[in-house]
């Protein structure tokens, strides 16, 4: 089966090619089934190769299959070949597996979209690029896949490109990735320069043998780390990931949760000998970058209202955990978390997609609430995903996160503290999301704030008009009373006067009442402005105008969210099972249960750090982590479920705006950055172009000067000859002796 490894990327490639040319003709849903079939086939081949490798001995599990010569350029010989070893196969398994599930899901999610075939074309191209990335046997092939997934990410994020915001998000992702790609390219150049080859087998074996200078290894490791932080959205190159939520939800699930963003972690794990040979500050830098990003992103996720943005920042945070693991030398833990994260994050994203699908495209959690009655399967699977990510045993996330925290403690207690705080925050914001979405009051039936404001404004206008009318009535009554008093006396006249004064009094009372009403309305409107955006309770201000709300409110309330079709709920179910059982591959109890560690051992060149803490400490750490998670869940339930704590304490504006980092970057680029760019452009124009054109101008000017000698007069030329003759004689003179 091993020699069929080329089928793994070839099937999605074939799918891509067929869909490029015939996708429009296939149409919905056959284009989707074709793509899903390609992915499923790829998964089956991967499973076959996996079984093949499992049947071999541990040290026999690395194999390079070369397809053809790609770049035969003198000293640089790069072939297209596949490096099949435990690490790449692990990646392939979950890429193809989760990928196939997401393809299936997309058939339901993209139903009715006019660009249905194009979506699957891009998805298959993405799968091909990602598989080339992990299966490539040299840095250049990995880079090919790297760039390919970047391009597909751009294509898929801006899938609905007619909306300019989506197109911009795609561009942002591409450009930010590019900054990281520069680091990757420099690393490739240096690798070739040092090792004479870019193949992993050469590089890693040479490095593991210890013949590489530390400065070289440091430089290569740092440059690849730069590439990794671009692709895996670590600080400061994470900016593109929240914006990437502009793409369809399956894209977010596949690319920005399970696969593409993990390529950075994969790369760092692949080059673990280089990191081991680098200076000591390199792993520390990786670990602190990961930990810092994890905490940073977790704080932001706390205040987000868009259901997908919470998950986006959560992804950044979990990737931070993986980088933390790599920095602590816990490569197995990083890969373990990568696998479990693929399961539960894809589950959460697909679940959120199901919710969005049910709510007809509304992504604001303020409009959700109590959805579990309407979407039971989605709710159930989402809850499983929530328990996994919050680190509740025995779900998968608990085991992987706990392992990372143990290694963090092993490295530095401070790192462990950061990791623990992040875990608490993770539990908090995920619980918040679950409670807001599936429990509590059905806020989707609520009128929107702008509708309420409009109703109150209308009422205010009417109240003002009433006041005006009352005032007019008072004036009229006064005039009538005056007129009555002015007429002749008499019992009728007196009765008329009394009547008129009665009317006047009534009118004055009415005026007072109308003015009170205006005051009330104004007060209610002001009170509305002070309420938090997230209306967890029934709003008192609504009731008064409940009858004056537009029809759309009632229509919305009666249109209940619906559960998604089986093409969407089946993947949710499968992923839920995996999130539940995923921890089994690396249980820390004894050596036999640590299956992933044994499986990955040949790829790690003994660079895996050994835990120097005892079992007792491990138990304590685990208990503390679970307790932290429980605290986070409890606080979230208290704030959002039972409303005992005011939730606005957590949802600070600075967090909602992501610490204004994005805006700072824009200002920096727009202000000094733009000045810098324009200075560079001006330099290019004036100095570089000027030099080139200056040569031409100089030549022309000198030619103009020299032209004077060509006046066509024979006598001038004769002067030239004469001068030449004088020169000749001088030369002879110089050669003779005296």
């Amino acid at each position: 089966m091993l020699d069929l490894v080329w089928l793994i990327p070839a099937l999605p490639l074939a799918g891509f090619l067929v869909l490029t040319f015939g996708g429009r003709r296939l149409g919905e849903p056959w284009a989707g089934w074709l793509a899903t079939g390609a992915m499923a086939g790829s998964f089956l081949v991967t499973a076959g190769v996996f079984l093949d490798l499992v049947g071999r001995d541990a040290h026999d599990r690395r194999s390079v299959t070369t397809l053809f010569e790609w770049v035969p350029a003198g000293d640089l010989q790069v072939d297209v070949g596949f490096l099949v070893d435990p690490l790449s196969l692990t990646m392939c398994l979950f890429i193809t597996g989760v990928g196939a599930l997401i393809h299936l899901y997309s058939i339901g999610y993209m139903h009715g979209d006019g660009d249905f075939p194009r979506f699957f074309t891009y998805l298959n191209l993405f799968a091909f690029s990602m598989l080339m990335l992990v299966l490539g046997d040299n840095l250049l092939l990995t880079f090919l896949g790297w760039e390919g997934v970047g391009a597909c990410s751009y294509l898929l994020i801006s899938f609905w490109f007619t909306d300019e915001a989506n197109a911009t998000a795609g561009k942002k992702a591409f450009v930010t990735n590019r900054i990281g790609d520069w680091g990757f390219m420099v690393a490739i150049f240096l690798t070739f320069f040092t090792f004479g080859s870019v193949a992993y087998v050469d590089v890693l074996d040479t490095t593991a043998a210890g013949t590489v200078a530390q400065s070289t290894a440091t430089f290569v490791a740092v440059m690849l780390f730069v590439g990794a932080i671009g692709k895996s959205a670590q600080f400061p190159l994470y900016l593109w990931l929240p914006d990437a939520m502009a793409g369809p939800t399956p894209v977010s699930a596949l690319i920005h949760a399970a696969t593409m963003v993990t390529s950075g972690v994969y790369l760092l794990t692949r080059i673990n000998p280089v990191i081991a040979d680098a200076a000591d500050w390199v792993p520390t830098m990786i670990a602190w970058t990961g930990a810092g990003t994890a905490l940073f992103a977790a704080t932001i996720a706390v205040a987000q209202r868009d259901i997908k943005k919470v998950l986006a920042y959560s992804t950044v945070s979990q990737l931070g955990y993986m980088f933390l693991a790599v920095g602590c030398g816990a490569y197995v833990a990083a890969v373990f978390h990568m696998v479990t994260h693929a399961f539960f994050k894809a589950l959460l994203f697909l679940g959120s997609g199901s919710v969005i699908h049910g709510m007809d495209g509304d992504q604001d959690m303020a409009h959700y609430g109590g959805l579990r009655r309407f979407m039971p399967v989605t709710a159930g699977t989402f809850i499983i995903g929530w328990l996994a990510i919050a680190g509740v045993p025995p779900f998968a996330g608990f085991w992987s996160k706990d392992e990372i925290l143990a290694f963090a403690w092993n490295e530095s207690p401070l790192l462990w503290v950061v990791g623990l705080v992040t875990a608490v925050l993770t539990a908090f914001y995920m619980t918040r999301q679950v409670v807001l979405t599936f429990f509590g009051r059905r806020r989707f039936a609520d009128p929107r704030p702008d509708e309420v404001d409009a109703a109150w404004a209308a009422r205010l206008i009417r109240a003002d008009e009433a006041v005006e009318a009352a005032r007019t009535a008072v004036v009229d009554a006064e005039a009538a009373a005056e007129a009555c008093r002015g007429t002749t006396a008499g019992a009728d006249a007196e009765a008329a006067v009394v009547e008129a004064e009665g009317v006047l009094a009534a009118a004055v009372e009415a005026l007072a009442g109308a003015e009170d009403l205006v005051t009330d309305v104004r007060a209610a409107a002001d009170a509305r402005a002070e309420l938090p955006a997230l209306a967890l309770d029934d709003a008192p201000y609504v009731g008064a105008v409940a009858d004056e709300l537009p029809e759309t409110v009632a229509a919305r309330a009666s249109h209940h969210p619906h559960e998604s079709p089986w093409t969407m709920t089946l993947p949710l179910g499968v992923l839920a099972v995996l999130s539940l059982l995923g921890g089994l591959i690396q249980l820390p109890f004894s050596s036999t249960t640590k299956r992933l560690e044994h499986w990955l051992e040949p790829t790690l060149f003994h660079n895996e750090v050994h835990l120097s803490i005892g079992a007792g400490t491990l138990w304590v750490l685990a208990v503390v982590a679970v307790a932290g998670g429980a605290v986070g869940i409890a606080v979230a339930v208290a704030a959002y479920g039972r409303r005992r704590i005011d939730h606005t304490v957590f949802e600070r504006p600075v967090l909602a705006e992501a610490w204004r980092f994005d805006r700072t970057v824009s200002n920096l680029m727009g202000g000094p950055g733009r000045a810098g760019f324009e200075a560079t452009a001006a330099f290019d124009r004036r100095v570089v172009d000027g030099a080139v054109e200056g040569v031409a101008t100089l030549v022309r000017r000198e030619a103009g000067v020299l032209r004077r000698f060509h006046n066509g007069l024979v006598r001038t030329y004769a002067v030239g000859i004469g001068l030449g003759a004088v020169g000749l004689v001088l030369w002879f003179l110089s050669r003779s002796s005296f």
Partner: protein
């Protein structure tokens, strides 16, 4: 005695040369040239090159200068040239420089330098005295150098034919010479750099200039 003859001949030569330089009338210049040629012929005789002296007088003074005079008379260019003005800027100073340096350097080379001709190469034939000169010259020419002699004969034939063709009278009107703005003293050469390579004054029409071959205008 030799020295006296030499000095007198040298004087004749130099006076003649100066006369060619400064004579305003071209006919006078031709006559001065004859004077120089005679002087040189005397110097030839002094060196026992009798045949050459004779040829010098007969061919040079007798034929070439006559040819000059013929052309002068034919074209009527006997009008005196105005030597006072020099249109080209810097020509006179440069000519002076060239002349002075050429003369000075050559004389320096001749009088001061110690290397003389070695005569290592060029053994053609031994030199005889004046009486023998013609015979020796004839022998050398028509045995060792007969090929060169034939070539010169051919050269002369070609020259004559060419001259006849070039100086033919053509039928029809003659195209006037193109008027080209010459860089004069008032307008230094540099000022004309604005003008394009094809001057609007130029009436020269290359394609139709040569009716020399054709004969029809």
């Amino acid at each position: 005695m030799d020295a006296t003859v030499f000095l007198i001949s040298a004087a004749i030569v130099l006076v003649g040369a100066l006369g060619v330089l400064v004579a305003r009338n071209p006919v006078h210049a031709a006559l001065f040239l004859v004077q120089t040629l005679f002087g040189v012929a005397v110097l030839f005789v002094l060196q026992d090159a009798t045949f050459l002296a004779a040829v010098q007088v007969i061919v040079y003074a007798g034929a070439v200068v006559i040819l000059f005079l013929f052309v002068i008379m034919l074209l009527g260019v006997d009008r005196a040239e105005d030597l006072g003005v020099e249109p080209i800027v810097g020509q006179r100073p440069l000519a002076a420089v060239i002349g002075a340096s050429l003369m000075g350097l050559l004389l320096t080379l001749l009088l001061v330098a110690t290397d003389g001709p070695t005569g290592a190469l060029g053994r053609t034939a031994p030199l005889g005295d004046g009486a023998d000169n013609t015979r020796r010259l004839g022998e050398a020419l028509f045995t060792d150098y007969v090929f060169a002699v034939e070539l010169t004969a051919l050269l002369l034939t070609v020259a004559v034919v060419g001259a006849v063709v070039l100086a033919r009278t053509v039928k029809g009107a003659l195209h006037p010479l193109p008027v080209v703005v010459v860089a004069t003293a008032e307008e230094p050469p540099g000022a004309t750099e604005e003008r394009s390579s094809v001057d609007s004054d130029t009436e020269l029409d290359i394609a139709s200039t040569e009716s020399i071959e054709g004969g029809d205008a």
